[in-house]
Amino acid sequence: MTVATSNIVIETTAHSRQLSMRQTIAMAKRSTIELARQPALIAPSMFFPIFFAVLSASSFSKTTAIPGFPKVESFMQFALASTIVQGVLFGSVTGAAALATDIENGFFDRLLLAPTTRTGILLGRLAGSALFGLFQSAFFLTVLVPFNAPISGGIPGALVMVLSGGIVSLAIGAIMSSVAIRTGSAEAVQGAFPLLFVLLFFSSAFFPRETMSGAYKRIADINPISYLVEGLRALVLEGFTFSAVVRSLLVPTVICAAAILFALKELRRKLAAL
């Protein structure tokens, strides 16, 4: 009798997990389709990073000779990693703003009324952002690599970069989703974006830390975005080494884990307040 009961419990738990996974996948699908249906929303996150990369490659082509600048074939090669991070930052904000819009227009409340998994609401949305991040990273590499920006790590290096782009997208999406859940306002999410932009600028994304000095260097040294970009850059400049792979995956994964935990905490706080 006891064995039968425990079997039922195990089956119910497994069934519940399956159901939860199916609901999360459905939410991920919804957020991906939502992005794909609004090209005007995603176009800036595809266009601007490419524009800046092409512009910087032409503007700063002579700066690669400055003492301290890493050995590169072109400025475009140097800019490859920052283009991915920049694009993914833009894209993740779009996903988080969509979550805030769901809260604003009451769709989030309807999801809560339905017998759906609570974490799936958030994780599904984030999975959609991560998929978009993967797509963006692959797109940027496909477009920019032919312009004298070879990846020393080859195809495995490129694949790790795409994966890392997806994780970065997940991490930033989780951070911005926390803002969305806390404020319930798409405007607040868009308003928080300049903070990310400032962080990006005060990092080694656009120029190497070795050429910086004073307060700017100190800020770049403690800025996590510097390490995100440098991990990816290692795959481009150093090759497919163990150290480069670990750096390009470890930093975003740690940030991602912390950000998701924080976003889930925000979600629990919101649910408790209802």
Binding site: L55, S58, S59, P67, F69, F206
Partner: protein, 275 residues
């Protein structure tokens, strides 16, 4: 007889809506809006400061390149920041005009006997006041961060003239698009085009240090002349871009030409809206 005597003073006391009087009224409204809606003006103030600090710090090493016209990166990027801010001051008024069109306030303006010219001159005066506020805020901040004017007050004057010119151009462009689009779709086009035009110039690097396609584009982009005008009082006296008439007239001509084109564009847009 009595009736005539009482009517005449009433008629003469009604203010005739001259262009400048109406423009001043609209300018006052625009200036009051800075205080009432600071969030709309904030980006125009924050952007130059951010550009100056972030670019000067991140790209500080570019001054080590042989032939770079200044040894202080902040000297190079402060004028860029101010020109960005000036562009956004003009565009911001384009946004306000869109809002006025959407809320039907503009219909009331069009129904009034105010000369049509004043609907462009009024916002233009507001844009210039915004630029004055911007310069009064950003230049002292730049000086605190290490900016040095190498040709004294003349350098300050050329910088302010360039900023006023950029705001005039962007205002004409912003109003022209606002009158044509009549909704917030126009706002995205305004920002994007001004952004691209400014960047496809010597915004980040001096012309002789550029390579490839951007060099070719920046060479024919009139904005390069305006940026040269804004920077001529901030580069080293040994630089070919240092304060001289040959580095000034090109910028003034570019401002005159582009302002005329964009203001005509705005006026024609207003005529279409009026119909």
């Amino acid at each position: 007889m009595n009736t005539v005597a009482t009517t005449t003073p009433v008629v003469t006391s009604v203010a005739k809506p001259t262009t400048m009087r109406s423009a001043r009224g609209l300018a006052y409204r625009g200036i009051r809006n800075i205080r009432r809606l600071p969030s709309a003006f904030f980006p125009a103030m924050a952007m130059p400061v951010f550009t100056m600090i972030a670019f000067a710090g991140t790209f500080a090493a570019i001054t080590r390149l042989p032939g770079f016209p200044t040894d202080r990166s902040v000297n190079w990027f402060m004028p860029l920041g101010i020109c960005f801010g000036a562009a956004f001051s003009g565009i911001g008024l384009g946004f306000s005009t869109i809002r006025d069109i959407e809320t039907r306030f503009y219909d009331r303006l069009l129904m009034s006997p105010a000369p049509r010219r004043s609907l462009i001159i009024g916002p233009l005066l507001t844009a210039w006041v915004r630029v004055a506020i911007l310069c009064a805020f950003v230049i002292p901040m730049g000086i605190l961060l290490g900016v040095r004017f190498t040709s004294g007050l003349l350098g300050l004057l050329t910088l302010v003239v360039a900023a006023l010119g950029v705001s005039t151009i962007s205002l004409g462009w912003g109003l022209g698009l606002a009158f044509r689009f009549r909704d917030m779709r126009g706002a995205a086009v305004m920002q994007l085009t001004m952004f691209v035009v400014l960047y496809l110039s010597s915004a980040q690097m001096p012309l002789p240090l550029m390579r490839g396609w951007l060099h070719n584009v920046a060479r024919i982009n009139p904005t390069t002349n305006i940026l040269r005008l804004s920077r001529e009082g901030l580069v080293l006296p040994t630089s070919p871009d240092y304060m001289s008439w040959s580095n000034t007239w090109g910028g003034l001509l570019a401002i005159a030409g582009m302002s005329t084109l964009t203001l005509v564009f705005a006026r024609r847009g207003l005529n279409k809206l009026d119909k």
